[in-house]
């Protein structure tokens, strides 16, 4: 069986690569916190990223189903924080909060992944 065809593994794979890329961008922002003219970078939220690529959105098979909820308003917009006189828009606390967010998302993914693997182990009796 090809493990990448199990939806959860594929999803975890994409989530981890999204987290890795975001971490790279955030570390660039923080390293350039004193570079004149530097503007912060960030990725679009993962939900938006996912909705573009795959048919992961829930299907409505009955008129009684509630429509999928939209992402919260304003998500994905670049934060329009204040800029320093030298044109730098990095705010260390905002960036560090994002880093903490990314870290907790990462431990969530790895945790779920390991639990899921443990289920396979239980099923195969090892």
């Amino acid at each position: 069986m090809d493990p990448s065809r199990i939806p959860l593994f594929d999803l975890a794979d994409r989530r981890l690569s999204w987290i890795g890329q975001r971490q790279q961008l955030l570390s660039q922002n923080i390293a350039n916190a004193d570079t004149p003219g530097w503007r912060t970078h960030d990725l679009k939220p993962f939900a938006e990223h996912l909705a573009r690529g795959t048919g992961m959105a829930p299907a409505r098979t009955d008129p009684g189903h509630i429509a999928p909820t939209r992402p919260p308003a304003g998500a994905g917009k670049a934060q329009t924080g204040e800029r320093a006189p030298d044109g730098n828009s990095v705010s260390l606390d905002v960036e560090l909060a994002k880093v903490a967010d990314t870290e907790s998302a990462h431990s969530l993914v790895t945790g779920i992944y390991q639990k899921y693997l443990a289920m396979f182990r239980t099923a195969s009796g090892r």
Binding site: Q23, L26, S27, A31, A33, E103
Partner: protein, 135 residues
């Protein structure tokens, strides 16, 4: 791998903040360095500017020290007729280092350094947790 790049970028960020700290230390150490004879120039405050640069070995945009320049602001005069560098009116040119400005700059460099260190630790934790998935 992106997380490995994040590690290198944070390390580069700490590196440039260290250069900034070195320049601040030079300025503070030389805040009383005057000339030794009339007409000679005292120490001028050094400044650091950073720039964003693509690092080929990392494969991503990092940060580098663009230039260590000199503050060409006016040098204050101090009345000290007994000084070897005093002019005929008894005034000495002293360095344009303001220790308050330097100490504030030092605090800011320290804060940026710890932010980079924090990101480095988080990235390292993420890498080791990813490796633990193999168990």
């Amino acid at each position: 791998m992106d997380l490995q790049k994040a590690l290198s970028i944070s390390a580069r960020g700490m590196n440039v903040q260290t250069t900034r700290l070195r320049v601040i230390a030079e300025n503070l150490a030389n805040q009383d360095t005057t000339g030794t004879s009339p007409g000679t120039q005292p120490y001028r405050r050094k400044t650091v500017t950073f720039a964003n640069a693509v690092d080929k070995s990392v494969g991503a945009e990092t940060v580098k020290v663009k230039k260590v320049g000199r503050d060409m602001g006016e040098l204050p005069l101090r009345f000290d007729p007994g000084h070897p560098a005093a002019d005929e009116r008894g005034y000495v040119r002293v360095p344009n280092v303001n220790s308050f400005v330097e100490v504030m700059d030092l605090k800011e460099a320290q804060r940026s350094y710890s932010a980079n260190l924090n990101v480095l630790q988080v990235s390292r934790g993420m890498i080791s947790r990813t490796i633990e998935m193999l168990r």
